[in-house]
């Protein structure tokens, strides 16, 4: 453990330490509530398995829609888990403490977003091949699906964070969040699902990845700023 240092607002070291501490804190909270770890996966699994039930168990039919279904489910799973991102902190006052930190809010918000992705996005990515198998996705498309999800889910977390930050002070949540976040996420969904479908038809997909990467870069730089601004407004 490091010695008490006198605080120098925004020095790199203390910013880095605050970043790490925030990341660690959110991960510890998630670990303690084991649900948080299990739930995104379970939700993803359940939603994906609703489709064969609702649509048809026919392999040919399913394989045609599988890419879309996996992607839509990933989107919904990510969005549902967003609710936890700032809510508890808002209710117990931790969010005020975060806003009153002398460290740049950008990094603290980024740390929270990364933690959220590690808890809810990454497991979905890891689990996706299994579900793709269950939905008869052609095996040549597996890697594309995993990779698009790997690039796409962080974007969902980052965009989603803006929506949660805007709505954290409101009484009713859940749905208003969805109404704000889902439209913003459509490009990622379209590109991601299309890449997987294209691979199934043997089409080139370099373009899709370039696009997804560009969106991710944009989201990484801009979204935490928007989230920070939104948090300050919500806590007012």
């Amino acid at each position: 453990m490091n010695k008490p240092v006198s605080s120098h607002a925004g020095t790199d070291i203390s910013t880095w330490q605050a970043f790490c501490a925030t990341l660690k804190r959110d991960l510890v909270i998630a670990l303690k509530r084991k649900n948080d770890l299990l739930n995104p996966i379970m939700f993803f699994l359940i939603v994906v398995s609703l489709f064969p039930l609702g649509i048809s168990p026919d392999p040919v039919e399913l394989s045609k829609v599988s890419a879309g279904v996996v992607w839509v489910s990933a989107l919904l799973a990510s969005m549902l888990s967003l609710d936890n991102l700032y809510r508890a902190d808002y209710e117990d006052g931790s969010l005020e403490q975060l806003l009153l930190s002398p460290q740049p809010l950008y990094f603290l918000v980024l740390a929270k977003n990364i933690a959220h992705w590690l808890i809810s996005g990454l497991p979905v990515v890891v689990l996706s091949p299994l579900l793709a198998y269950m939905l008869y996705l052609p095996s040549e498309a597996y890697w594309t699906m995993v990779l698009t999800l790997l690039i796409g889910t962080p974007v969902l977390s980052l965009f989603g964070s803006i929506g949660v930050a805007l709505t954290v002070g409101l009484g009713s949540r859940g749905l208003i969040l969805a109404v704000i976040v889902l439209p913003l996420s459509t490009p990622v969904l379209i590109i991601g699902a299309k890449a997987v479908t294209d691979v199934m038809f043997g089409l080139p997909i370099g373009n899709h990845f370039a696009l997804l990467g560009a969106i991710l870069a944009l989201a990484l730089t801009m979204a935490p700023l928007a989230s920070s601004a939104a948090l300050r407004i919500s806590v007012n």
Binding site: L166, I180, P183, I191, I233
Partner: protein, 249 residues
Amino acid sequence: MWLWFSKLGSPRWFYELSSKWLPWLYAAMIVLMAIGLFWALLIVPEDYQQGQTIRIMYVHVPVASISLACFPLMAVAGTITLVWKMKLADMVAKSVAPIGAWFTGLALASGAIWGDQIWGTWWAWDARLTSLLIQFFLFIGVIALRSAIESQDAAAKACAVLAIVGAINVPIIKYSVEWWNTLHQPASSFSMDPVAPNPPEVWVPLLIMISAVYVFFVIALILRTRNEILQRERRSQWVIDLVSREKSV
């Protein structure tokens, strides 16, 4: 420049100035509407393919083009709200959201009616249609957020953030949707051919209708904003004076 800017930011100044503009705008709208409608509905020849339904174009295109302009406008107003904390900008932003939603809804509806006539379906997952639908959702999101947040100041800033984020995304959405659907959709039957191949007797009235609807849009925006001004400034002296003057007349 700065003086002008800060003057523009004063709701009262805007209210008084717009009082002077409004009669002119009404006149312009009536004249343009009358000419445009008369020309479009009665003079323009039937289309050899589409028959009478071509006349829907004179509503659809102006409405659609305005609905596209609304989001950027809202984002600009939002930026001004955030950066210069200008109250008037937020009043405009607040007023433009429902108008934008309505125009987007009208564009969807008029398009759907037209589509039913010539494509045989009210709806298709075509690029333009889909991206307009998503933009409609975004408008609803902004309106929902505004009505959900109680504090006026917080609502103004929150909606400004959402409008800016949305405005960055609208082109991305549009692009991704356009590019998504080119594979599956036969371009010919769904293409919204530019009016260029058409003769001037078709596009001149269209231009007139576009300007008429634009003037209508501006009027609606000004009226809503004035309403908002009166509501927010209802306790300031000039509004009280104004109301008592109106009453005595």
